[in-house]
């Protein structure tokens, strides 16, 4: 049985080299963009970009809150380090 040749969705006269992993449509070499090792069509890249922007939008604020909290707690950490160093030095001084 002969294999059916597929053609690019944008260029019907050019054979397709692959299929976009997002849209599932066949694309030729010129319409294909390789990103992170995977082939995408222009539409597929746009959809991927929108999805990632949506994910980043949802998750950015917990990271900002954590950074602010950690920054506010950092003086306490500095004080604890100072007290720990002092205690260590006095203990070494008593032992030597």
């Amino acid at each position: 049985m002969a294999l059916k040749k597929t053609f690019c969705q944008n260029h019907p006269d050019r054979p397709a080299i692959g299929v976009c992993v997002i849209t599932g449509q066949p694309i030729c070499e010129e319409c294909s963009t390789r990103y992170e090792g995977v082939n995408y069509s222009r539409e597929g890249l746009r959809i991927l970009q929108a999805r990632r922007a949506q994910q980043n939008k949802i998750h950015w604020w917990p990271d900002r809150i954590w950074l602010v909290l950690a920054t506010l707690l950092s003086p306490l950490c500095v004080l604890l380090i100072y007290l720990g160093l002092l205690a260590l030095i006095f203990e070494l001084g008593l032992r030597s």
Partner: protein, 267 residues
Amino acid sequence: MPTPQQSMDLQSNNDFAGSLDSGLEFIRTSAAWVIPVYALAVAPTALLILSIIADIARHRPSTATFYCWLLLPAMAWRWGVLAVIQQRVCWAITGKNDTRILKRRLFPLLIARLPLAVWVVWGCRLLLVSGIPAFMLSALVAPALLDAPTISWKHIFRPLIGALVSSSAWRHFLTLLVTFLMVYIGLVATISLMADMVIPSFAGVSDLRLQLLLRSSALKMGLGFFVWMAFDLLWHVSSVIVFYHLQTRLTGADLQFRLNGLRRTAA
């Protein structure tokens, strides 16, 4: 004597020295750049630590309160410059060359290392070995942050927790730690031998001051600090390689690890 199959298993699981060897090789090939930059990183800390040791030896620990305040910015300086060295190791592994990332992530890096420093200091104060995991993890903060796509706490905590439970990371760290402990003990034993036997009997010298110096705790503490510096540099460089080694296992890109997994499943 292990069978050929057991030998193959031992060989494929034997990653005791892989990342350390790569770290040593990186330092050897980039010594002209790495060693001066590390000296710059550790110079303020070294001066302060040696001053503190001198005050302890003279039984004047009260002046150490001033040095402790200065030690805090010296530590932050050391972390920042060490991150520059670790960034170069990241570039050597990934082939990327983006200088903007460290500038954006330096502040979160310093913030992330603070609680680990608290753990190191109080761990050493309360029970010496309990500070060791924190020392291991603190070097992994920089590669975790530099490799992360965004400044996210999950991109820091997950790799650190992963490293904490990973036997591979522990093998590398403990191998290095034991090696340097042996070097330190060997040096101290050699100096004690010289002070007690070699210098008086061989050289015919009976200088009490020299013997007191060689037996002093200040010399031993100073020697321990210098040995620690070599360990510190090698671990900070090797930790980047250990980090990427763990990443390849996580993503399944480590072929040897995948083959072992398939062999265990088939068995």
